[in-house]
Structure formats: C-alpha cells, structure tokens
Symmetry: C2
Subunit: 441 residues, 2 copies
C-alpha cells in the first residue's frame, strides 16, 4: 500500500466535498461515457480474470464475469444516479440563537470511505459513482479474482474524474491481500468502512478495525402470521418472502404462526412450500398440527423427500440463505415479538394481520431496521425503497439503519453566523438571553 496515495485521497476529498453538483454530475457522465466507449478493453481484461479464476464456483464466476449487457446496466445505473438530488449542501435545520446570530445544520460528505468488496467488477463502478455523487473520496479494495477488470475500470474512472476537473486522487484502488489488513489500520485517514461479502467476512472486518463500519452481519428475518390474518395474504407474503429469492439477506428464515390460525394456515403454506422443494424445520406444535391435517398424502410424500425436519434451538438463529424455513407456532403477539427480538438480527420482520392495533404494536416493538405489515420482507432494499442507489443494509443502530442510500454517505456540519457575538455577553449577572427560534429556510 502506498500511504502517500491515501494522503492524497484525503486532501482531494476536501476539494470533492465542495465541488458543485454540476461538476460531480459531469464527472459521472464522463465515467458513463468512458465505460460505453471502452467496452472491448473492459471485456478483454475481464476475460483474463475469468481465465485465471478456474477454481471459482459457478455462482462466483457469474458475479465476476462481465458482458456487454452488464456494462450497459452499469452505465444505466450511473445515469440514474445523475438524476438524484445532491445529497450535500442541504440545510437540515436552522435556528436564530439571538438577534443576528444564526445556526444552520448543513449536510456534507463524510470524507474518505473505505470499501472492501467481493470479486465483482460492477461493484467497483457502483461504489465509485456513489462516492463521487456524495462528494466522498474512496479507497477501494476489490476481490483478487477481479484484478484485471478492476484495474481497467479504475483507470477509466480516474481519467474521467480528472477530465471533469476534479482531483483524480479521490479514487484509489488497492489489490493485494495484505492491503486489507493495511486498510483496517487506516483509522487516521478513513472515516467509514463499508465491507461487502459474506457474513463471516463482514464480522471479521468489524472485529479487526477501529474505523466505524457500515454493514450487516446477518439477516435472520421473520414473518409473523397473526390470528387476524387474511389467509390469502399470509400465503402470498410467506411464499414470496421465502421463495422469490432465497439467497439474500432480506428473505424470511423463520415463519411464526399464531396458534388460532395455525390449523387453517399451516397445511396450506406447507403444501405450497413442499411443491417448491422448500426444506422445513418444524417445532413440535406445528408438526402436530400437520400430522392431524387433511393433507396427509402430500405430507407423506414430502417426508419421503426428507425435507420435513424437526427444528432445533439452533434453527431460530440461523440465516439459511437457502430454500429452508423454520416454522414455529406461538400463542400470541407478545410471544412472536419476544421471539423476534431474541433470535432475530434486527434486519427485517413482517406481520400479516387485518388488525391495525396489533400491526402497530408489532411495528413499534419489534426492534429491527425495517418492520413490515402485510407485505414481503423482500421489499427491504434501497432500490425498492426509492433511494435510487444502495450503499448496503445496516443492522447497526447508529448513523444509518436499514437499507442505506446516498444519505448514509453524508453527515452534517453546523454553520454559525454572527455579527461579532461573544459568549461573555451571555454569562454572568447581566447575561443576555438566547432566543432559540426556529428559522424557516
């Protein structure tokens, strides 16, 4: 790692932080143009990476591999980003402290962001663009399998930034495995670290740095089907939450069912799951209900496939990221909430009910970044929330929580404007009093 480049990025971050939205958007436009114009160059570099990455699983290879369509999508993403409002320079609140003394809270970039990401070249483009738009410098460390692709993309982005009249040093790329360890120690330079990748990797990062980390380590999401749920809604939501895309953090892992509706609901959803080859881990009560149910045939069928198992204590804390669901019958709303607050990961949890006050209690008391009523946990996502671009999803409880958009890459500063005001006038016996009146701006 070249510490001098990190220093340059920090210095450059001050200039970028104060660049006009016109300049930042122009830089983004030039990045998009550069990608479009240099498709061949990018794809050739990517071919090298694919050739060298023979040991990778099919899923990982798919992430690593670029094609013309993927590059078009990157370009589209940047063009969307250009259309978003400037996240910095906005007055968040304003107060008249005293006559002629005013306080403004103004949004601004954080400074230098460190991002450690998987072997996925499109991530490099997305992250760099987000940082340009939000006025932050970024230190990138991509997965080693994408070395050649990343290098080409990085060079194109740097040139575009320079062409736009901004300091190219605000984007810096590191590529060796040792660089990860080095980045973790850069707490004097990096203000926020965003690790992407497996839960284990994110946890490793969190445990080994003093830099604040934005990320989530786990997504153990629940759907609770209340006694006042509409059966059709419950089935649709629970099916979507588990099956629409099981490998992601906002998919449901545990289904909680109120005992009063369990006899009607469970046979239906279990049949639907069984038809889709979802493996189920049942608690004793749901197992009992199932055995008494009319769907014996299907269940026997299913049992033979060995996909109907007994849930153990471990299941309640497990993020399967797969077509597996644990199922538990609860005796009331409180038991559901307690279960979620105890075993959940504070990511996303949903209730299905027609009872508004029950829904409100659930959403108030469940301590998660996203709480949902009569819709699928799969909606928990920056794009679906309308943030335009997503930095990641945070299960932390400070700074940014839930899906994080551009706003998560900003903080604020206070600007105080006076006309010679001094504190000594406001202390002692003849102390002047403060007004503290909200200003509309």
């Amino acid at each position: 790692m070249n510490l001098d480049n990190i220093r340059k990025a920090k210095v450059g971050s001050i200039e970028l932080a104060n660049a006009s939205i016109r300049m930042k958007n122009n830089a983004l436009k030039l990045i998009a143009d550069a990608l479009s114009k240099n498709k061949k160059k990018i794809l050739n570099a990517n071919k090298k990476d694919i050739y060298l990455a023979k040991g990778l699983s099919k899923a990982l290879l798919k992430r690593l591999e670029l094609d013309s369509v993927k590059i078009d999508e990157m370009v589209k993403g940047i063009k969307k980003l250009i259309k978003l409002d400037n996240p910095v320079g906005n007055v968040l609140s304003a107060v008249e402290i005293d006559k002629g003394l005013e306080l403004y809270k103004v949004s601004c970039p954080i400074g230098v962001i460190g991002v450690i990401f998987e072997s996925r070249p499109d991530a490099l483009v997305q992250i760099s663009s987000l940082c340009v738009k939000s006025g932050n410098a970024v230190i990138l460390k991509g997965g080693s399998e994408a070395t050649n692709s990343n290098r080409v993309l990085f060079n194109l982005i740097r040139s575009a930034i320079a062409k736009a009249g901004l300091p190219e040093a605000v984007v810096e790329l590191m590529q060796t495995r040792e660089d990860v360890k080095a980045i973790l120690k850069l707490n004097d330079y990096i203000d926020l670290l965003v690790p992407r990748g497996s839960n284990k990797f994110v946890k490793y990062i969190m445990d080994n740095t003093k830099i604040p980390v934005l990320g989530h380590s786990e997504g153990v999401c629940h759907v609770y089907v209340d006694k006042d749920a509409k059966l059709g809604t419950a089935v649709n939501v629970c099916f979507d939450a588990k099956c629409q895309y099981a490998a992601v953090c906002n998919a449901m892992e545990t289904l909680l069912v109120h005992k009063s509706i369990a006899k009607r609901f469970l046979p239906v959803i279990i049949r639907k799951y069984s038809e889709t080859n979802v493996e189920m881990r049942l608690d004793d009560e749901s197992r009992l209900i199932l055995e008494k149910s009319v769907n014996k045939k299907i269940i026997n069928n299913y049992k033979n496939k060995k996909t109907l198992k007994k849930a153990t204590g471990k299941d309640w804390k497990t993020e399967y990221n797969d077509m597996i669901v644990s199922i538990k019958v609860v005796s009331d709303l409180d038991e559901a909430i307690d279960h979620i607050n105890q075993y959940g990961s504070g990511h996303t949890d949903a209730i299905v009910t027609e009872n508004k006050s029950v829904a409100n209690k659930f959403m108030d008391v469940v301590d998660s970044g996203s709480v949902m009523w009569n819709c699928s946990t799969r909606f928990s996502d920056g794009f679906r929330y309308g943030f335009g671009a997503e930095v990641g999803i945070s299960t932390h409880k400070i700074h940014a929580r839930g899906p994080v958009g551009l706003e998560g890459l900003t903080i604020y500063k206070y600007k105080v404007i006076g006309t010679g005001h001094v504190v000594s006038d406001y202390s002692g016996r003849k102390a002047k009093k403060f007004i503290h009146r909200k200003i509309k701006w």
Copy 2:
C-alpha cells in the same frame, strides 16, 4: 458486574422505547421531585465522598461536591428537559412505493447506552434524564470518588422510574474499576458508548472497545482573522474565544492572522492578552511584527514575565485548555484553511471577516463539526445551540457531529405498510413499476 442486570436493562429498553411521552415526562417529574425531597440524604452521602476524597485536586473536589444550589440546578435541568419535544416517534420521511404500499422513516431510541463519566454526581442525573426522555436504557459507570453520592442518586432515580410505571431496570449503575473493562466488552448489549472525562481517557475507551463511541478526543480550535475583518470584532471574538473560559474544548488554541491586517491587529490583541496574563507562542512573522510595533513598552514588560514565547511545531497541534494561545501569520485564506484542516481536530473553527464570499469559502472548506463567522468559538455548545440538553460534543464524522442533543440518542426504523404486496410482482417480464412518490405527512 451482574450480567443479569444488563440483560434486564436490554429487555426493559424495549418497553421504555415504546412508552408514551406522557409516561416518560411523568418519570422525569418524579425524579425531579425525589431529588428535591431528599436533599439531606443526597448531601449526607456526598459529605462521605468528600471526606474520603482527600487526595483530589481543588478543581476535581469542586466537581464532586454537591450543595443545595447544585441540586436545585439539577431539578431545573430536568424540568427544562420535560418541556422539550419527544425525540422519538417522529416521521422523518415518507414515500408511496406503489399503490397501497407505503414507507415511513420513523425516529426511535437507539436501545442501550453506556456512559462512563467523571466523579461528578450531577452528571449521573443529567445522563439518566436524557436517556429516559429519549427512551434509551442506560448503563452508568461513575467515577469511584462519587460512589456514595451516585448510589443515593441512582436509587432515587430507579424508584421514581418504577413509580412512573416504567421498568426500573432501564437504569443500571456500576461502580468498581473492573466494571469499566467489563463494559467495554458488552458489545452484544450496549449500542452506543459515551465516555466523558479527559482526552486521554476518551481515547483509551475508543481504542479498547468494539462498541461505537460518541465523544471527542481533542478540541484544537482556531480563529482566523481575515484581511477584511473589522478590527473591533476581531479583538472581541479573539478575546472571548481564548479568555471567556480557557479550560474547555471549544476555547481557541491557535490564532491565525492574515498578513495584511497583522500589523494593525496583532499589537492590539497581544496587548489585551498580556493584560489578562495570557501566555503567547508566536511564529517568526508575528514576532517580527510585534518587535516593530509601537507597543514596545508593553511588550518588554510582557517579555519580562516570560509569557511571550516562540511557537514550535508542536504548538499547532496542542490543546492547551489553559490561558495559552499560539499565534501565526498566514499569507491568505487558503493557507489558513490548510492549516486548520491539517492541525485542527475538527471541533470548532471561526473566521472574522466582512467579506461574505471569503466567509462562505471558509465555512464550506474547513472540515469541522462547527464553523463560525464573526462570532466566538465558545458558542459551540448544545445549550447555546438551543438543544436544551447536551449529550456531548462529537468530532466523529458519522452518526452525530458537533454538539449532540437528544437527537444523538435516537436512530430510525423503516415501517413498510402494504396490502399483501409481494416482490415477485415487481420482477421478471411483466414487472409492475414502482411509483416512489414522496408523501406529505
């Protein structure tokens, strides 16, 4: 440390988080009443602490010692807090994702706050009250010299909380030195740590925990006197920023002066400082100006007191917290800004000028939590900013920056309300499109 009590605090935090503002304010009222009614008991315990704390410096004893007036002030502080708006349950933004599918961003408490504070019993009351108002549980660890006072205050607060019908477990007190180490490891229970005390102590905490820390390690604050400054304003602001109260983090440590105004300004301010026994550390240029100035007599006088010294490189990074100031002549605005961004601590920095565009550039580019124009750095404070109550001042660049009020003890959650919406309808060939229209609420 009793881990069971920490668990109880976490469980209780969920109930407190959802308590109505009426209940929380009632708990605060009962705390205030209990303090008023039990003055004698509190003062007796405090006498024990004072008796046992014979080794303490005068300043520390003053912080430790309570009297009737100080208790009245605590009560007044709580009554002010009662009047503040509820910081939780506020809708921060709302979006219609699609017809019948709405997203609300709602403020909520963080959860469990850990506070490690100096031997100052009024801090215990202030912190507990802030946490009750913001709906957070709090794990307190006070300085050991205040053991008896803290124990009495803690018991009164606990009883008042229970009397208000809230779980008393949400306030927990630890008292042994080993407890500090134990708290640092409670990252599964404590969501945010607020250390108070010396810079060294805060830094130790930051370096030894995985819990996010809210605090500031240093306050190296600057005033820059621009060439277009009004002389009177410059003198007043620079005198107030240094002398109104020198022992605090928002006092000025370094005075930067534009070379064009230095010959007129420096002799005046140096004379004023010298009359107040401020020790000055001058760079070569300001020294030269001084030697040529008309105030020879005063300067010689001052020199004899040995309070006029040569500044060394170390001075630019030093927080004196005392009647000492370093002075440097700069050739332009950019040099001033660069100096501040290089040597400052990102706390509070001010400019004195009549030139609006110069002031705006200074406030935009200086990368500090508070930036000021024509007023004293000493205004950088939660009470003066109108926050009513102050948690502390943060020089971090995530979550909360600058003076932190009740808002710094809150975060948000997303509530998504649908009518059976599933993600599969929004993917694939016939994908429905999102509306993403802002809702006024």
